[in-house]
């Protein structure tokens, strides 16, 4: 039973959540027919009504069909030097911090605290007062900050989203050159799992399909879910989402040898772990991102099984250090993004982007994913269309609202 399904009302799944703060720029309020508790940072998907969360990267949300559904597992196949997949993991965790979710980070290589201290800072979109906007702040300007010169009719209306606490927007933007403030990070509950600290010195080596490292990790996640009540035992009002980030599963540091041998001794260890993890996710309000160094895994069959066991799977291929770096075709991008799998969640069709030929570029303020395209008139230039909605998130909400209205109308007929 999918936990997310029981949270959203079965009958009126299509109704939009009123996720705006109380003080609105408009007085329009949609009448919601059911009393749903909206968890901050989530919204129902317009495609199939699933409760989805943002991955932290808005282009990636679009590519995987609107967002990451609660209760599913996102697999990211790492690029060769683990630079961009690590960045994606940080965006995922940063989004959890900004939305106020509970964050869990499991790592075997770098201490989780180091990763948490390195999260990118969110970009807040507070609108400055118009006097500053016009550049009219002169020495003789004796008006105070609050009054505006031209748009003075709006000066009493509250500013939009200055405080992060009231951030109910879906999907945020981050500045990769700055790190997140410590107060912001500490406001959110964070649990960590660092394998060298958890692994006992003497391993008991009982034969089991799953290795000890993965078993400890799974048990740690299970205990956290049970303690904090993510499996539905928490009261309705205080429900929250648990975001799990697992770094570099399958690498030798997790005591797994699928990266070293073609015929590993514990070939099914990682797959058993993922099976157990997905069962945990399906029965709780959790979502998980796992990065796997797939370029090291020698046996393709294992990688295929791992992909099958995850719900959404993407692969990053970076151009650094390869001959493609100097290829003029790819000079605008940092690498290619392959969408290996998208899930069918309670429906027959899955949403996929129109084209499979996607390339990514890590800019300072955005991780953008674009289509590779050719300009017919000029073979030298590439026309890249940035995927997803334009960078105004309001546009995305507007289109989502329109779609919701159409679905509603269709249902009533």
């Amino acid at each position: 039973m999918n936990m997310a399904m029981s949270v959203s009302n079965t009958g009126e799944r299509r109704s939009q959540q009123n996720t705006r703060p109380a003080c609105n720029t408009t007085s329009f309020q949609k009448k919601s027919r059911s009393k749903l508790v909206s968890i901050p940072g989530t919204r129902p998907s317009v495609q199939n009504g699933q409760l989805i969360v943002s991955t932290g990267v808005t282009s990636l949300d679009y590519v995987i069909g609107g967002g990451l559904a609660v209760g599913t597992l996102l697999l990211v196949e790492e690029d060769k030097y683990d630079s961009y997949s690590r960045m994606l993991l940080k965006y995922f965790l940063a989004e959890g911090v900004v939305c106020g979710h509970h964050v869990f980070l499991g790592s075997a290589r770098d201490p989780p605290d180091e990763i948490m201290q390195d999260l990118p800072a969110p970009i807040l979109d507070d609108i400055p007062s118009n006097a500053v906007n016009m550049g009219q702040v002169t020495a003789c300007d004796s008006e105070d900050q609050g009054s505006m010169k031209i748009a003075w009719r709006y000066q009493n209306l509250p500013k939009v989203q200055t405080a992060l606490a009231s951030s109910s927007r879906f999907g945020h933007y981050y500045d990769a050159s700055k790190t997140m403030a410590r107060e912001l990070r500490e406001a959110v509950k964070c649990s960590t799992f660092f394998l060298p600290h958890e692994l006992p010195a003497e391993s008991h080596a009982e034969p089991s399909p799953i290795s000890e490292a993965y078993r400890l990790l799974l048990r740690s996640i299970q205990e956290l879910i049970r303690q904090e009540g993510f499996d539905g035992t928490a009261p309705q009002k205080s429900r929250n989402i648990l975001r799990i980030g697992l770094h570099s599963l399958g690498s030798p540091l997790w005591a797994d040898d699928i990266c070293c041998e073609e015929k590993p001794t514990q070939a099914s260890s990682l797959t058993s772990f993922l099976y157990g993890l997905r069962a945990l996710l399906r029965s709780s309000l959790c979502t998980c991102m796992v990065t796997v160094p797939s370029h090291l895994i020698q046996n393709r069959a294992i990688m295929d099984r791992v992909t099958r066991l995850c719900d959404t799977a993407i692969a990053l291929e970076s151009f650094r250090g390869s001959e493609r770096e100097t290829n003029p075709l790819y000079k605008d991008y940092h690498g290619l993004l392959h969408v290996k799998q998208t899930p069918h969640l309670n429906c027959l069709v899955c949403e996929a982007p129109d084209t499979k030929d996607l390339a990514f570029k890590l800019k300072r303020k955005q991780f953008s994913i674009e289509e590779n395209g050719f300009d017919d008139y000029n073979d030298d230039n590439l026309v890249g269309r940035t995927l997803g909605p334009c960078s105004l998130p309001a546009w995305e909400e507007l289109t989502a609202a329109l779609k919701g209205i159409f679905y509603n109308m269709a249902h009533r007929c």
Partner: protein, 296 residues
Amino acid sequence: MLLDVIQGTENGGFVIIQDTVECCGRQLLQSCIAAALHREEDVHVLAFEVCEEDVRLRLDRKCEQRLCVHNGYTDPLGWSEHPLFTVHQFISEELNVHLSGSEESKPATLVIDSLSWILRHHPPAVVCQRLQELRRGGALRRVVALLHCDLHQQGIVGSLCHLATAVISVVPGDRGQQAVAKTTRRTKSGKVTHEEEYFSVKEDLTVTVESRPSHHGRPQTEEDEREVDPAANLTFNLRLSEGEKEAKEKLSLPFVFSAEKKSALLQPRPGSGRIVYDPDASDDFDPEDPDDDLAV
């Protein structure tokens, strides 16, 4: 870049020198040892493939007391009763004791000759975990290891290089004597640089680097996003002078109302709207003749 890596400016690094049977990387390893000794650092060498005399062979006599060679060559598997250093001691905690044995607490450099030997006797996952533990321990500043990549499966070599911060692959070059070193370095921030250079190691173990091979293109260096200023080099003027700015500010805007009208409009008022009339500068309002139709 090869010289930078050998000099070893950053802390916490893990350098792997990959060589094959065609081209030996041991000389580069020796030059790393020599460079570390010149920098007045403690160096611990785990020698499994060469005897102690060979390690000390071309090194400077003055710096020798800082060099500590753990002899794993004579009895690596501990067959005799008192082995000097065995390959099993690498995995166990005894190595930590050896490394932190010096009085000064300056972090040391650990040189492993070679990692292939250890991989023959321990599972690669265990070796990876142990290396990571050594790096994190704090007793070591840097780990430099020699790896014979033709002795292992590709997966093992790949996994170890994945852990490394710098990988130097030594291959024979086109020109007779000179070998080519392909260096890949990864910084903590995720930036990766790659370079290929001809190198040669002289008698005193200094490395000279020569011109890069011409047929390999120079890899593109990562440039920051430089935004081209569209307002530069225009035939028309887009900027305002000081006088123009002042004139712009003096301009009275059309909907600038008086303070009462503003506050009246700002306050939310129930019911019908209120009309507040503020006479304009050009308005000629006569209170006795409001409609301005009396012929006076």
